[in-house]
């Protein structure tokens, strides 16, 4: 694989935000998630997202099933016949025989990639990079072309059936500007969802993993925090207790537009030419 990735770049600065605030993000520590789904509801209340289907799945307590146009936080429930460090689950399968069991819960969300393919492919400028380094769809610009949907390596962004436009987590862009934290992080009863400057979150996460390892939770690992991964690091990253696949996350996500950077250098020239043309046209029209 050719190394086209830029590592810990400054996405907001590269997107023209001068004197921008530090890059903000989510650290979702699934080791303290109680699966209450407050994040799902708080998100929907704040963003006025429609109900997304009232269907019983029979799959643990997950009736939400996944992220989508009308679900921007999704709590996964994974029941496993595995031990969780020194935890004693007490259950017996078959009767009388101690059995391993752990119940993992994890709140998934848009990763706000450093290299965001959805944004790369958006032809209308509906998707944009905010001054906080997050990736947001502008509902007044989106025309519902849907190019972004297959571009996302995580399957996060999706179109709503009724209006066709693409929707996903905005990291509560309308709250951040006023110094407020995103609705999900604010509601989270156990601080499983933490919001803050990405650098600080990464430090906190590293400490947390070390703490868990010292306490025998050797499965603990971070997902999406590495600036050198296939999406240049995620603005929303996770502490997981199993392989990403167990949570329905791709193990090695790659920005689907990884060859685009080679083309970017041409874009500037093209834009300049367009400006010249436009000015000419404007002048001609007077």
């Amino acid at each position: 694989m050719s190394t086209v990735f830029l590592g810990d770049i400054d996405p907001a600065g590269r997107a023209g935000h001068e004197d921008h605030p530090p890059r903000m993000g989510f650290f979702t520590d699934t080791s303290v998630c109680i699966g209450c789904k407050a994040c799902e509801v708080a998100c929907k209340e704040w963003n006025a997202i429609p109900e997304d289907g009232i269907d019983f799945t029979g799959m643990s307590y997950d009736n939400t099933q996944g992220l989508g146009g009308s679900t921007w936080r999704h709590v996964a429930f994974i029941e496993q016949a595995k031990p969780l460090a020194a935890q004693v689950p007490g259950v017996q399968h078959p009767a009388g025989e101690p059995a391993d069991l752990r119940w993992l819960m994890a709140s998934d969300v848009c990763k706000h990639c450093t290299q965001a393919a959805c944004l790369d492919v958006c032809p209308t400028g509906a998707l944009f990079r905010t001054e906080f380094g997050t990736v947001v769809v502008q509902e007044d610009v989106c025309n519902g072309c849907g190019y972004c949907v297959p571009a996302c390596p995580y399957g996060v962004i999706d179109q709503r059936k009724d209006d066709g436009r693409a929707w996903k987590c905005t990291l509560c862009y309308d709250r951040l500007g006023e110094g407020l934290e995103p609705a999900c992080a604010k509601a989270c009863p156990t601080e499983s969802i933490q919001y803050g400057p990405l650098e600080e979150l990464r430090r906190r996460a590293t400490d947390r993993v070390e703490h868990l390892h010292r306490n025998g939770v050797t499965d603990a690992r971070l997902y999406g925090e590495d600036p050198h991964d296939g999406v240049g690091g995620a603005g929303a990253f996770f502490l997981l207790l199993d392989e990403p696949e167990a949570y329905g996350l791709p193990p090695d996500p790659i920005v689907t537009t990884r060859d685009l950077p080679d083309m970017w250098k041409h874009v500037g020239m093209a834009a300049a030419a367009l400006v010249a043309l436009a000015v000419g046209a404007f002048g001609a029209g007077r």
């Binding site: 109680i34 209450c36 789904k37 019983f56 643990s60 939400t64 935890q87 399968h93 069991l101």
Partner: protein, 891 residues
């Protein structure tokens, strides 16, 4: 919560949620805290982060278990054996906190010679009258004590269970705030606790057979798992460490529910964990103001502040009532002040010394008048009008069908709610309409649905699970016809009084003399809630707000609507509305809201110090005696007379609060001590004993007495059949145990959740939870449908097969359990059958609570039959099990 009342003196949680962070070990049992109280659970997580051990004891591995260090599955309905096993472990291994037990509990107190334990009488205590099926508790008293004043020794009649001189059925709950009365003398004590009749020795003998092997046999808990709990709890108790117990309705909703909590109270007292940081027993309640609705009760047997409602007697006067009900020692000696002040706030100037302050205006009880008797009264045609305030009994009460039969037989019904709940629409789409048993045209009940205002649309206070009142302010006026219950009740009273004005009928005097002139405001003429709060708080003869119940008098010079809330409006300021940010206070946060009594956050906190008034350890310091200022001081408001030194001993003849010594931390108790053994106040025994649930698939190995001998059973009725128990023939028709519960995503009977899209989509349908083994045994398809059957009904549910439900081995056989969340009904966005169709009406005799946490059932694949075929299915089960009207009603 009479078990906490009888054990410690007050019926509220002994501590507050934030104090969980100070625990070294937290045992959550009878509660699924992470799911049902998620935001409170942050304090468990806080403790865990500080190194505490978290234990969850529950039939199911839940979201609470997922975060615990140790999950202990047990058979639903067996907790007394498990907790009794821990008590036995503590006693037989000398793990108890001796100094605490000797000084602060009744462990040294000596009992009467004629007391007989369940060990002596194979499962019953002395005093049982088999005919009335009630206990005469006089033999449970301390040696040489008068029993005349013992709570519940009143000659009341008691409905179906018959009248008896010792019937106490409606009285236990009155111990919500006050300890039971025991008369004026101090019991004889043996400080060495060696006397064979002292409480400590009786306790030892009583629990001696609650061994780890018995725990395994009855609960299905392997000995090594039991040992881990016992070690964790005892290692984390003592001078320097504390363990806290957390429970909810998983403990209360049994025919012996009160005794579940008693068992935990005894254990916590032996370990010295009451009144101390990180210790105590935290009762987690499930509605915003359910604590408030017992403090200021909408309950039949209580007046505000846990003053008992009077029962019918010949020639009863205020004096004779108080003689019988108040104590000689402790704060219940002042009951006259509390009651007269209440009567003054009800009837104002009309209440005078000459007319006993209108004591005669109080209607009298004759036995139990709980909701289940009320339903019978509706079916019998005696009760004709019914108000439902934010409650949905058509799906939310045990044996929901009976509730609907009651509703169908009313003249009129008023439903006050947000949405059209099942209790408003049973005549349109209830199960009896579906089956064809009833038609709307045949139901004569006139129904008024009046939309209610939300908390954002009115001023008022809620009392949360830690006895803390918090004020919510009106943000907007309610729209349309929506109104607060304050508005409804005030204006209904106003209209009734206007219509009766001028009546000279004696029966109308209490209504016409009532003080009912509350100020109103706004375009809707909303009563001013703060004016009501001021009346609850009370005022003196000049109308000045009182600041403490110690200012109340029994001469009519003070008025107070609820004595334990006195002080919530001190200085004319709404103390419940205080909101000093947490970040500006210490961890106790005494300036946020207001907690009864007297803004104390940890009750009995005198016990956090040793007999000499010094903290048991620096790490666990809370309040202590400050020699320099000669008063109690510390982080919390001392729950003790501020200037009573640790060395104070009362003079002979002292009474009331004056009679408390410096080492009597349980100031509401008639002897100042916490009760390991309850000589009064409980109807079903001074000590907990294990009885099987009403419907159980197994025999009781501890005693020949299978079920509680004094549990309440209804008169034989077709719609409330009980099942054979244990090894009785036909019991195997219902081979599984089911337990009902809540989920995070819904609330109680669903009136505030099933109608909301954002919550409905998270748990979209009624379902059951079963193990893979049971699914295979019964051929039930994961994700498909199953039908669950008891002798009362059959319901269908979607199927969630999970290894979180564990088969357990009980009495040598493999037993499967079925989990049933109970949120559903026919209305709203998320729908399904109501689990309460399966439940019977056999009740705890202290509090009349139903047993929905442990029922025997069968499960079969597929959806239930529709229409009349559903009833035929249930009838077929009854026939196969040989059920008659007598089944399960024996003592």
């Amino acid at each position: 919560m009479p078990s906490l009342g009888a054990s410690f003196g007050r019926g509220g949680a002994t501590t507050f949620q934030q104090d969980l962070q100070n625990s070294d070990c937290i045992v959550i049992e009878g509660s699924n805290m992470a799911e049902c109280h998620p935001v409170g659970f942050q304090w468990v997580m806080e403790a865990k982060a500080r190194g505490a051990t978290v234990i969850h004891v529950d039939p199911r591995f839940t979201r609470t278990s997922a975060l615990a260090d140790l999950h202990v599955p047990l058979r639903a309905g067996s907790d007394i054996v498990f907790l009794g096993g821990l008590i036995n472990y503590v006693l037989s291994n000398d793990k108890y906190f001796r100094e605490y037990v000797v000084h602060y509990t009744n462990g040294p107190a000596i009992l009467r010679e004629d007391f007989r334990d369940t060990e002596d009488l194979d499962g019953v205590f002395s005093g049982l009258d088999p005919d009335s099926r009630t206990y005469d508790p006089s033999t449970w008293q301390y040696e040489g004590m008068e029993v005349q004043a013992a709570s519940g020794q009143r000659d009341q009649e008691y409905g179906d269970t018959g009248a008896g001189p010792a019937s106490t059925a409606a009285r236990g709950h009155a111990m919500g705030s006050g300890g039971a009365a025991i008369g004026g003398l101090q019991p004889p004590r043996d400080e060495t606790m060696q006397h064979p009749r002292c409480v400590f020795q009786v306790l030892k003998r009583h629990f001696a057979r609650y061994t780890p092997e018995m725990v395994q046999d009855v609960c299905g808990i392997p000995p090594q798992l039991f040992e881990r709990v016992a070690t964790a709890v005892t290692d984390n108790s003592g001078r320097d460490r504390t363990t806290e117990f957390v429970y909810a309705v998983g403990w209360t909703q049994h025919t012996v529910g009160v005794q579940y909590i008693r068992t935990a109270a005894i254990l916590q007292l032996l370990l010295g964990n009451i009144g101390r940081p990180g210790g105590g027993i935290l009762a987690l309640r499930g509605h915003a103001s359910i604590q408030g609705s017992t403090d200021i009760p909408t309950l039949f047997n209580l007046l505000p502040g846990y003053i008992p409602m009077p029962h019918a007697h010949k020639d009863e006067t205020l004096d004779s009532f108080l003689d019988a009900e108040s104590t000689d020692k402790g704060y219940w000696a002042e009951m006259r002040s509390y009651l007269v002040s209440l009567l003054k706030s009800y009837w104002g100037p009309a209440a005078t010394p000459e007319n006993d302050f209108c004591f005669d205006y109080l209607p009298r009880l004759t036995g139990s008048h709980s909701t289940y008797e009320t339903v019978q009264s509706q079916i019998d045609g005696e009760t004709k009008g019914y108000f439902l305030y934010g409650e949905n009994p058509a799906v939310g009460s045990a044996n929901a069908r009976r509730q609907r039969l009651g509703l169908s037989n009313l003249d009129w019904l008023v439903v006050r709610d947000f949405s059209l709940i099942e209790s408003a629409t049973w005549w349109q789409n209830g199960p009896e309409i579906e089956s064809g048993e009833m038609r709307a045209e045949d139901i004569g009940t006139e129904v008024f649905f009046l939309p209610a205002a939300a908390q954002t649309e009115k001023d008022g206070s809620f009392t949360n699970t830690q006895r803390m009142l918090q004020w919510h302010h009106q943000a907007v006026e309610p729209a349309g016809d929506a109104r607060s219950d304050l508005w409804f009740t005030y204006h209904l009273g106003r209209l009734i009084r206007e219509k009766l004005a001028g009546s000279d009928d004696e029966m109308d005097r209490p209504l016409l003399d009532l003080t009912w002139d509350y100020p109103t405001s706004g375009s809707q003429a909303e009563p001013v809630a703060e004016a009501v709060l001021a009346e609850i708080n009370g005022w003196d003869a000049e109308g000045r707000p009182l600041s403490s119940y110690e200012q109340l008098h029994g001469d009519g010079s003070t008025a107070c609507g609820c004595w334990i809330y006195c002080g919530v409006y001190a200085g004319g300021e709404n103390q419940a509305a205080r909101r000093k940010p947490a970040s500006e206070q210490d961890w106790v946060a005494n300036e946020w809201g207001w907690a009864w009594p007297a803004n104390r956050r940890i009750l009995y906190n005198r016990a956090s110090a040793d007999p000499d008034g010094r903290p048991w350890s620096e790490r666990k310091a809370l309040v202590w005696w400050d020699e320099d200022s000669a008063q109690w001081t510390g982080h919390d408001v001392p729950d003790f007379a501020a200037h009573t030194s640790p060395w104070h001993r009362p003079a002979d003849g002292a009474r009331g609060a004056e009679a408390l010594s410096g080492i009597d931390p349980f100031v509401m108790q008639a002897d100042g001590k916490a009760w390991l053994f309850a000589p009064a106040g409980l109807t079903d025994g001074p000590l907990p004993a294990h009885y099987e649930p009403q419907d159980s698939p197994v025999d009781n190995p501890l005693y020949a007495q299978q079920r509680s001998p004094v549990r309440l059973v209804t008169a034989p009725r077709d719609d409330n059949r009980y099942q054979p128990s244990g090894s009785e023939p036909g019991s195997d028709v219902f081979p599984y145990v089911t337990t009902t519960y809540r989920l995070t995503e819904h609330h109680t009977a669903g009136g505030m959740s099933r109608f909301l899209p954002y919550l409905a989509e998270l748990q979209p349908a009624m379902f059951c939870e079963i193990s893979p083994e049971l699914a295979q045994e019964r051929g039930v398809e994961p994700g498909g449908w199953a039908t669950i059957v008891t002798a009362r009904g059959a319901i269908e549910a979607r199927v969630l097969v999970t290894r979180r439900i564990s088969p357990i081995t009980v009495r040598g056989r493999v037993l499967h359990q079925v989990g049933l969340p109970y949120h559903w009904g026919a209305n709203g966005l998320s729908t399904g059958d109501a689990a309460n169709e399966l439940a019977h009406l056999s009740l705890d005799p202290n509090v009349h609570i139903q047993e929905v946490k442990a029922l025997a059932c069968d499960i079969r694949p597929g959806r239930r039959p529709r229409g009349a075929a559903r009833d035929r299915l249930v009838a077929d089960y009854q026939r196969r099990a040989g059920i008659t009207e007598r089944t399960g009603t024996e003592q």
